[in-house]
Amino acid sequence: MRKFKDFVTDFGWPRVIIFFFLVGLFIAAPFVGVRIDTSFSDVFTRFGQNGILVLALVPMVQSGCGLNFGLPVGIIAGLLGGTIAMQLGFTGWLGFFGALVIAMPFAVLFGWLYGQLLNKVKGDEMTIAMYVGFAMVTFFSIMWLLLPFTSPAMVWGYAGQGLRTTITLDNFWGQVLNNFLAVRMGNNFFLPTGMILFVFLCAGLVYLFFRSKTGTAMTAVGSNPDFARAGGVSVDKMRTISVIISTMLGAVGILVYQQSYGFIQLYQGPLYMAFPAVAALLIGGASVNKATMVNVIVGTFLFQGILTMTPSVINSVLKTDMSEVIRIVLSNGMILYALTRKTKVSK
């Protein structure tokens, strides 16, 4: 009993409650006509889609820059990579990894500029970051029209210029990661092994990075900047590096998301992408100053699980289609809950 108590305290009551709620939903599902195997399949796919976007928040949390509400900055870099790779006609694996490679320089550049800005507004990073994200998305809404893309697969059919709001990846690199080593059972169960492995690979790399000298310094900066400075570490440099890495992971994250989703979404698409990621990380038990890989994985799984299951179960109970409304209420409610629950660090 004592051991159980310790485990719960360690794991955190909110997570235990959410976990049992999720289990409850899975148990309830068959009785209201929701297929369990489809549900599992959805949860795993959504976990894989969102995992790296959640992971992208970790470096900035660790360096004390707070939750990266400016995640759209990284997403835009990823979108640039994706659209350019498409324009160049890359397909399949070459397409996906080509998009990754092309996105990286943009991510580094954007991240560096974004980092410089955040270093000037210490203490208010999260608010500023949110508006940086909004501004970036809006600016690129103009750019998507103006940039000289010509590939017929991407531009508006009637004008011959300007990118469409959604571009299908069907003939490019849609599902390449998902189908790698995929497990299919019956008609309804599909496990996107490749994508999940890729998420774990990225999480592993981030984990190793935080065991390096730079990663250690970054954690110390987040924990106590004065200590780090007295230890000969440049606080601003570490923060900038963390923002760059966060932005790079954001770019990787959106490319993984899109190959699974099957479409590139431009214009207002990235506007609110930071919020579900933030909610997932906080539900995973991270604080504003500390986040671990366990927080990322547990948080993404629980958040996406609830987000997948609740609307379908409730929908079937109510027998009307209001899944989108429920999804919005739920995801914002979770963010609200998570932000009020955030644990403080001692000073």
Binding site: S212, K213, T219, A220, N224, D226, F227, G232, V233, K290
Partner: protein, 533 residues
């Protein structure tokens, strides 16, 4: 001649904050028109005593006080400062409590403004009466005249020199008709010498009009010049009360600091004190509250060099400036090489280490385990405790090495903890201090700065910390510069002790020098190099 009842008498005042005694059985009296000087080191209890007298809420919040306060022979107990004001006690604080955008007159008359009725008052009542500027100015002028100084009643406080602000504060207090006792908490601390002269004259002028004054100051020559009676507080007790006639500055200094213990001269056996290792010339440091103006000294290899002085005089600024944590300028030469200032990394790479006085703020990663706290700086600066993988392509933290390092220091300094993975915030103050020392030791420095190593830790831990410093110095020949507010501590550990006053070195003494010499230097009285140091 009938015996006059004293205006104020304090009888057996005692006060403790959560079991920590700050005042015990303090008694003295203040006669009408008498100037009583209250002197003592930082933390002797002067401010607490005045807070009790003035009925500050902090006293009642922390459990009240013991003893009696009598005014005109009648016991009083003030619950709020307003009661004290009504009883005729005025207080001039260390920090100015003036409104910068108001004139002298407006500040003096604040909340006691003279009013003039207008027609609107007939209809809407008293609240619409207007200020009677002429009367206010007249009253302000009369208060200024009582002080016997020159002040322009129409001048804005923000445009005044510091001295005039101080006079405005005093004028505000004596503007009340019933004021009989004035308490001045270090009124001359911010003044220049000539301004202080004028102030002292004003105080005598006030006393001659029958106002009693309690005067708190660190400047001892002012005390002897102005006071009729001197009360010396030390560690919460009134150790000496005497009329000021025939008392020399040296006597007061000795009473102030004089714990009658023999300073142990650190034995030099087995220690090798060599050439000059560190030379500091005209160092200035912009550290808030601890400004260093112009400091020059040099330290020899293997020596333990102490820096003492009163709080706020700049002793803490010296190590913080050298280590690059606060803006600094001047010349610091280590091993004959000029040190790059304002760059903490350069200072660490040059072989120096620093144990900060701000343990929780700068010294520790409270949310991280002990092995991180100890190993972090050496990992960042010297690249130790990193393991290479993939033929040196990737370097990762050597967890096992860090744990071993932490275990080693936990044993060496007998740190009480559950192990190297315990979080730093869970340790007690003394053990946290040992972690800070371990962090500095792990750097294997040639030159170690230790700032207030025993602040806020209990007596037993204090001795252990000092002992480990002594041993580290003896075993590794590390030069140590130790900054401390506790003179006794410096005298027991150091080979030489420098006293800092007003941002520069007032003098350097040997630890077994007469205690009065230290007191004099701290009070800014004499400046001379100790013989043979």
């Amino acid at each position: 001649m009938p015996i006059e009842t004293p205006l104020l008498s304090l009888e057996g005042i005692s006060k403790d904050f959560y079991g920590n005694t700050v005042l015990s059985d303090v008694s003295f009296t203040v006669e009408k028109g008498q100037i009583v000087a209250l002197v003592g080191e930082n933390g002797a209890g002067k401010t607490t005593l005045m807070r009790i007298l003035f009925g500050m809420p902090v006293i009642a919040d922390t459990g009240g006080y013991g003893g009696l306060i009598k005014i005109d022979g009648e016991t009083v107990k003030f619950d709020t400062p307003f009661d004290a004001l009504d009883a005729g006690i005025g207080m001039v604080h260390q920090e100015f409590s003036l409104i910068p955008g108001f004139t002298t007159t407006e500040n003096i008359a604040l909340n006691r403004e003279a009013m003039r009725s207008t027609l609107a008052c007939e209809v809407f009542g008293e609240r619409l009466s207007v200020l009677d500027r002429a009367t206010m100015t007249a009253r302000a002028e009369s208060a200024i005249n009582r002080l016997g100084v020159k002040l322009d009643p129409g001048m804005l406080v923000s445009e005044m020199p510091v001295g005039h602000k101080q006079f405005t504060e005093i004028a505000r207090e004596i503007n009340r008709e019933n004021v009989r006792l004035l308490v001045l908490d270090e009124p001359t601390a911010v003044l220049t010498e000539s301004e202080a002269e004028v102030l002292l004259k004003a105080l005598r002028h006030l006393a001659s009009q029958g106002i009693s004054i309690i005067f708190i100051s660190h400047r001892l020559h002012e005390v002897t010049a102005v006071a009729d009676k001197i009360v010396v507080l030390r560690d919460g007790a009134a150790v000496k009360q005497t009329a000021s006639e025939g008392v020399s500055v040296r006597d007061i200094a000795a009473w102030m600091v004089g714990r009658d213990v023999e300073a142990k001269r650190t034995d030099r056996e087995g220690r090798d004190i060599g050439e000059e290792i560190l030379k500091i010339e005209h160092l200035w440091v912009d550290m808030p509250g601890e400004t260093v103006r112009d400091v020059s000294f040099s330290v020899r290899k293997g020596e333990i060099f102490g820096i003492g002085g009163l709080a706020g005089q700049g002793k803490l600024g010296i190590p913080n400036g050298i280590m690059g944590l606060h803006m600094a300028g001047g010349c610091v030469v280590l091993h004959g090489k000029n040190l790059q200032l304002n760059d903490p990394r350069a200072a660490l790479e040059a072989g120096m280490a620093f144990v900060s006085e701000d343990r929780r703020g700068v010294g520790l990663l409270l949310d991280e385990p002990l092995d991180w706290n100890i190993g972090f700086t050496t990992m960042q600066v010297h690249g130790r405790y990193l393991k290479s993988y993939l033929a040196g392509l990737v370097k990762l933290r050597d967890e096992a090495g860090l744990r071993k390092l932490a275990d080693e220091y936990i044993k060496l300094l007998s740190i009480k903890c559950t192990g190297p993975k315990q979080k730093a915030k869970e340790l007690s103050g003394g053990n946290q201090q040992k972690i800070c020392l371990a962090k500095a030791f792990a750097l294997k420095p040639d030159m170690l700065f230790v700032s207030e190593p025993t602040r806020g830790i209990d007596v037993g831990a204090k001795e252990l910390v000092l002992q480990s410093l002594r041993h580290y110095n003896r075993d590794f020949g590390t030069t140590i510069v130790m900054v401390s507010s506790e003179l006794e501590e410096l005298r027991s550990v150091c080979d030489r002790v420098a006293i800092v006053d007003e941002g520069s070195i007032a003098g350097i003494l040997l630890p077994d020098a007469d205690i009065a010499e230290f007191g004099l230097l701290m009070a800014g009285e004499t400046r001379k190099e100790a013989v043979g140091a």
